[in-house]
């Protein structure tokens, strides 16, 4: 884990310091930190010579650029039509039951955050969810227990890459 200042500087060196490089830099910070703190936005604004409100306004527009502290593993369960038809509710219940958190909450140990998200593009394999950048499809409560069980031990089992 790099200190934020260094991380932002490295990202700006890599992507550039124009306004058009803002999203990749925000994404880079989120990749390490899972979210954008006030401090990291200040650093980004300073590095890119942008008003900090512009950074904030832009970041909050995008669902994947979280602005409050997140867990190490962000679970995003798809709630759009097909997933909702094919049992999203049961999936959510299974996750909530296992992690003892509600939607929008983070486990006490800071490991998991549970969120809902809009269409992931796996409607033919509904229900689907993301954990960080991994996609898991055709979920069942059993599958949830298996997947989360491995994450509990920081073992990331590969998700779907090609349908």
């Amino acid at each position: 884990m790099k200190p934020i200042t260094e991380l932002v500087k490295d990202l700006a060196d890599k992507h550039g310091r124009d306004r058009r490089n803002l999203l990749p830099i925000l994404q880079g910070v989120v990749e390490q930190e899972k979210y954008l703190s006030e401090y990291s936005m200040f650093e980004i604004a300073r590095e890119l010579d942008l008003p900090v409100t512009e950074v904030y306004g832009t970041a909050t527009f995008y669902s994947f650029l979280e602005c409050k502290k997140m867990g190490k593993y962000i679970i995003r369960v798809c709630k759009t039509i097909t997933c909702s038809m094919k049992g999203e509710r049961q999936i959510l219940l299974a996750i909530q039951d296992m992690l003892k958190i509600k939607i929008g909450e983070t486990t006490q140990d800071g490991k998991f955050t549970l969120l809902e998200t809009n269409c992931l593009g796996f409607c033919h394999k509904a229900p689907a969810m993301l954990i960080n950048n991994e996609v898991y499809t055709e979920l069942t409560p059993e599958k949830i227990r298996e997947i989360l069980g491995s994450y509990l031990h920081d073992k990331i089992i590969g998700g779907e890459h090609v349908s």
Partner: protein, 394 residues
């Protein structure tokens, strides 16, 4: 391919062809005008949903003088029920890369981008590898062209082309006023061709086989094949390449579960067709073949009789209320009113006649919203409320 399907399968896009180098080299030997004419005579229309003639788009951009132009491949596939673009990029990336490079050649751009939605982050590594292999080949044949991936971060509206430019420019993904159009004023204010992934893949087919091969498929106004993302209550969900112009009843015979109550054509921003209108509906662009003809980005969601159309509409409207960019009044407030309105009717807090006021509002949204998102909310809203009014009330 079994012959007893009424709906005609095709296999162009995913066909394993390792000849992209050849297609690229041969096409680069032709003049830009020849390539444009090939596209124009194929009558290929955009596969993202709006259906703008691809050849014309390239032509308009090629005619403009500018120090810089761009080609952008729109892979911000966010329409509920659509998942074909991911499949193309993961299975046949070189076809798309070739098409991007050829578009660059035609319009005079030295740089292309793939705007990949954040949800498809896992595709990035493979795609990067493909790009470096592709660029290496370009270098070898002394064709100066670069392709970059630009990652989205979770915003459906960025699939709207001008919102996508804003996003690439590091801003909130808010659609711009049009005119000016992207062909003249796109990314960084430069002339830009922005095409959907599948559209580009089709141009590969057209450049390889010639426009006639493509034109001969499909029907008048709706030439060629199209990828369909099929989901919902179907025994065989997945992605299928089908000829355009099929009738919806044939489609349901093929893909339904014998209990299909309605089909959502074109995703949440498309139209819901109830059973009684299956036979009068065909899938394609404008022109009247069998009753009405519905354009589509290729999403087909089937609902059987166990589904409540109220729940379906409620889900869509939630989606739109959240995914609207929020800048224009009709879309930002309109979506919330439609959503809260149908709930109020359902709960008996508003009379059934309130649905008529909402239909009227949906029409206003269609006339006045700034971009396609707000304008098309009325499609699903009106088609669901008009065809399943009783389900909205009781």
């Amino acid at each position: 391919m079994s012959a007893n399907h009424i709906v005609k399968r095709a296999d162009f896009i995913f066909k394993n062809e390792n000849d992209w180098e050849e297609v690229l080299t041969k096409s680069l030997a032709r003049t830009p005008n020849e390539l444009i004419n090939e596209l124009i005579s194929s009558e290929l229309k955009g596969r993202g949903g709006a259906g703008f003639p691809t050849g014309l788009k390239w032509k308009l951009t090629s005619e403009l003088k500018s120090d810089e132009k761009f080609v952008i491949c729109n892979a911000d596939e966010g329409e509920p029920g659509t998942f074909k673009d991911r499949e193309i990029l993961s299975r046949v990336p070189f076809k798309v890369l070739t098409a991007i490079a050829l578009c660059g050649y035609v319009i005079g751009a030295k740089q292309g981008f793939i705007y990949l939605r954040g949800e498809y982050f896992f595709l990035q590594q493979e795609l990067k590898k493909a790009i470096s292999e592709f660029e290496f080949f370009c270098k070898e044949i002394k064709y100066d062209f670069k392709i970059n991936i630009f990652m989205g971060s979770g915003a459906y509206i960025c699939g709207e082309e001008t919102a996508l430019f804003e996003s690439m420019e590091g801003k909130r993904g808010e659609p711009r006023n049009k005119p000016p159009y992207p062909t003249a004023y796109g990314y960084l204010g430069k002339p830009t061709v922005i095409n959907n992934v599948e559209t580009l893949a089709h141009t590969f087919t057209i450049f390889k086989y010639g426009s006639k091969r493509f034109y001969d498929l499909g029907v008048q106004f709706s030439r060629g094949t199209k990828l369909f993302s099929i989901s919902g209550d179907t025994p065989k969900p997945g992605i299928y390449e089908l000829e355009l112009g099929m009738s919806l009843s044939d489609f349901v015979d093929d893909f339904g579960d014998d209990d299909t109550k309605a089909v959502q054509v074109g995703g949440a921003s498309g139209f819901l067709v109830p059973r009684k209108k299956f036979s009068g509906t065909s899938i394609g662009f404008e022109g009247k073949l069998v009753g009405i003809s519905l354009p589509t980005g290729g999403s087909m969601m089937l609902f059987n009789s166990s589904r409540s159309m109220f729940n379906v509409l409620d889900n869509y409207l939630n989606f739109f209320a959240e995914e609207s960019c929020g800048q224009c009044t009709p879309c930002r407030v309109g979506c919330q009113q439609l959503l809260k309105g149908i709930k109020a009717v359902k709960r008996g807090e508003k009379p059934a006649s309130y649905l008529d006021k909402l239909l009227d509002l949906a029409e206003t949204m269609q006339y006045t919203a700034k971009c396609g998102l707000g304008q098309s909310v009325a499609n699903s809203f009106t088609s669901i409320v008009e065809n399943f009014r009783e389900e909205m009330i009781y």
